[in-house]
Each structure stands twice: as structure tokens, then as C-alpha cells.
């Protein structure tokens, strides 16, 4: 007797991330400037991603398991 498809057998299941949770954290310390096109520090136009305290991308492993680059959407 064959077992179920091997890909289904190997699925890593996890709770969906709430995208708003990340944004709330970022919004507390930074503002998104639509005209500049990046999150910046509340004072000046320096990008948040350049702030050592900013919890930006630290790994290819995104906070969501989307195959790296949010291909899903």
C-alpha cells in the first residue's frame, strides 16, 4: 500500500503571521514617507534601515515562510 504524496508528508505547518504586528512595531519608532519611498526616522530623512536599532531584514529567512520573497502575493 502506498503512503500519501511525499511532499504532503513533509509540509512544515506554522501559524499565519499577523503582518500588522510587525508594522506596529516599526510605526512606533519610524514613519513611512510615501514621497521618499522608505521608512525614515521621525527626525530628518535618514532611512530606518540604516539605523542599527532597526529590526530590518537580517536573514533570507523572512518572518514568513514564503519561499524567501513573498512570492505568494
Amino acid at each position: 500500500m502506498k503512503s500519501k504524496h511525499i511532499l504532503l508528508d513533509k509540509v512544515f505547518v506554522y501559524q499565519k503571521r499577523q503582518p500588522m504586528a510587525m508594522e506596529e512595531h516599526v510605526e512606533k519608532h519610524y514613519v513611512y514617507d510615501r514621497l521618499l519611498g522608505y521608512w525614515r526616522q521621525r527626525e530628518g530623512d535618514k532611512a530606518a534601515v540604516l539605523d542599527p536599532k532597526f529590526s530590518g531584514p537580517k536573514t533570507k529567512k523572512a518572518d514568513v515562510e514564503t519561499g524567501e520573497d513573498q512570492k505568494g502575493e
Partner: protein
């Protein structure tokens, strides 16, 4: 009225795009970022005859045209994999008509695209990647794709790396699932009913060291991915984040040349390439035309964003 020479298509939560936007700002290049998750904030008007695009955002007016627009930084999917159905007619109209408008920006064919969605669409196909990688001189692991173990050359006493053809993202009720590369035995494969879908079955490279090469035009940056100073068996993405080490590494000239040629061969400008060192040889695993790279600026100080911004500011004329 603000002239736009560089158009960025992204979303508000894409911090890698922030690096590029900031670098363009520092270069004093006139750019505009369109966030696909904030489209209600933009007023647009496109004139097909003159190929002019007018945009209003936060009370500011912007314009560009085929003559003016040097480049497009395209951080948006080409395959739509969302399984969820939009809730109502309004959401469906909003989502699908805007998506089409964004796709239609390919009318700006004189501009440099990083990357062009048509080429990304082609390059995302893993079997096509393997073909072009071989043409560029890469060794690839012995590979077959099958939905029937009875007709495939699987040996019960061997171990294999199995992976999906398309990113294995699943919606399972309120949860999500992801299928990484898995190591399985031949017996497991022979016992599995594969009829439901083809699966990529590859020679297992073990022990190996994973290498990530990021290419922008002729430039390449590479890191080794380690755990406690050693290569990682199987899919390194399953390793706990704080156990991962990213170490900048110099690659042999011929490997760099193959990486650059692969990106060119796929008609891309940017590519994130996964290689593995196995038995002292470099093997090609896959390339991601929309791969993530912001983490490399953060962790190993690669100036990838500056190279992307320079390319965008120069356009096709470089």
C-alpha cells in the same frame, strides 16, 4: 510637476526596497515608489499614444514617459499564487485591475528593468534554470522529475534531496504550510504515491557548504552559510536563525563568470543564486530572480543596494 526617471514597484513592507530608494535619494535621482499595498493613495493617468504616465500622490504631481523613464525596479510577483478568494466584487476589481495596470507598465520597453517581469516569469522555472546553468558551465546534481517512482531510477538504499517545482506554500485552514527541500530515503520515495504531482528528486549533496551569490549586472557578492562553522545538511532555512553564520567569501574566477553569465543568459539584471560546494566542486542548485538580499546589507555589509541604485540611475545607457 516632478519628473520621474526611476519608477519603483514594490510594497510598503519591503525593506530591501527602502535601501534602494534611500540610495536613489542620496544620488539625487528623481524617482517614485508605487506600493502595491497602498494603491488607493495614488491617482494615475496613462496616455497610450504619447506613452506618458501622470501620477498624483499626497498632493504632489509626477510625470514620466518612454522618453524620460530610465529604469524600473520591479519588486512584485510575476506568478500569482494566492489561493484565497477576494471577499467581494470591490476587492476583486481593485486587485485584478491594478495588477493588470502594473503589468502593463512593460510598455516602457526602452527602460532598464530590474528585472523585467517577462524574463522573471521565464527564469522562475527550475528546470529551465538547470538547462541554462549547465550551458553556463555549472555542474548540477543528478536530477529527475517524476510523479511515479515505478518509472524513475530510485534506489532504495540511497538518500535523495526532494523539492517542489514551484515554491511550496500551502494554505491549510487557518494555518500555512511550506515545503522545504527534504532529505528522504529511496524506500520512502518508492512507498510514496507521487501521482498527485511531479516532484524534483535530486542526488543528495552531503556534506556540502551552501553558497549564496548575489549578482547585479557584472558584479557578484558571495557568502557561505554555516552553522557552528560547518556546512548544513539539507535545507539551511530550517536552521534556527541565531545559529546561522553568514561569512563573506571569494569565489574562483570561473564560478563568478558562470554566475554572471547565468544571470545574463536568463535576460536578468539581478539574480540570487544558490550554489553548494560538494567534493571540492561547485554545484548549481537554483536561482531566484526576485530573491531577497537586504539581509546581506545588514549582516555582511554588501553594498548591493548601491549597485542596484547606480544601475537604475544609469538605465540602459550604461
Amino acid at each position: 510637476m516632478n519628473r520621474i526617471e526611476v519608477l519603483i514597484i514594490s510594497n510598503k513592507r519591503d525593506f530591501s526596497t527602502d535601501y534602494v530608494a534611500y540610495a536613489l535619494h542620496e544620488l539625487n535621482v528623481p524617482y517614485l515608489r508605487i506600493d502595491r499595498d497602498e494603491l488607493l493613495n495614488y491617482s494615475i493617468r496613462f496616455l497610450p499614444e504619447s506613452e506618458e504616465l501622470h501620477i498624483e500622490l499626497n498632493g504632489e504631481r509626477f510625470y514620466t514617459s518612454s522618453e524620460i523613464l530610465k529604469s524600473v525596479y520591479y519588486r512584485a510577483p510575476t506568478f500569482i499564487r494566492t489561493l484565497g478568494t477576494p471577499t467581494g466584487p470591490e476587492e476583486q476589481i481593485h486587485k485584478f485591475q491594478w495588477a493588470s495596470f502594473i503589468r502593463n507598465l512593460i510598455v516602457f520597453e526602452n527602460s532598464l528593468w530590474i528585472n523585467h517581469p517577462v524574463h522573471t516569469y521565464q527564469a522562475e522555472n527550475k528546470l529551465y534554470q538547470l538547462k541554462v546553468a549547465r550551458q553556463c558551465g555549472f555542474k548540477i546534481p543528478r536530477t529527475e522529475v517524476s510523479n511515479d517512482s515505478a518509472i524513475s531510477n530510485i534506489r532504495k538504499d540511497e538518500r535523495y534531496a526532494i523539492k517542489t517545482l514551484d515554491p511550496g506554500l500551502l494554505h491549510i485552514g487557518d494555518q500555512e504550510g511550506f515545503i522545504y527541500t527534504n532529505i528522504v530515503s529511496g524506500i520512502e520515495l518508492l512507498r510514496s504515491d507521487l501521482r498527485l504531482s511531479p516532484v524534483v528528486i535530486q542526488e543528495l549533496l552531503d556534506p556540502k557548504v551552501d553558497i549564496r551569490v548575489t549578482v547585479v549586472r557584472d558584479k557578484a557578492w558571495a557568502i557561505k552559510i554555516l552553522k557552528h562553522g560547518e556546512g548544513i545538511t539539507g535545507d539551511w532555512r530550517t536552521t534556527k536563525r541565531d545559529e546561522l553564520e553568514y561569512v563573506s567569501v571569494s569565489l574562483p574566477e570561473d564560478v563568478i563568470r558562470s554566475c554572471v553569465n547565468l544571470v545574463k543568459g536568463l535576460k536578468l539584471i539581478f539574480g540570487a543564486i544558490d550554489l553548494a560546494i560538494y567534493n571540492h566542486e561547485y554545484y548549481f542548485l537554483e536561482i531566484n530572480p526576485t530573491g531577497e538580499w537586504g539581509w546581506l546589507v545588514n549582516t555582511v555589509n554588501f553594498n548591493i543596494h548601491e549597485e542596484i541604485a547606480d544601475s537604475l540611475s544609469e538605465g540602459k545607457g550604461r
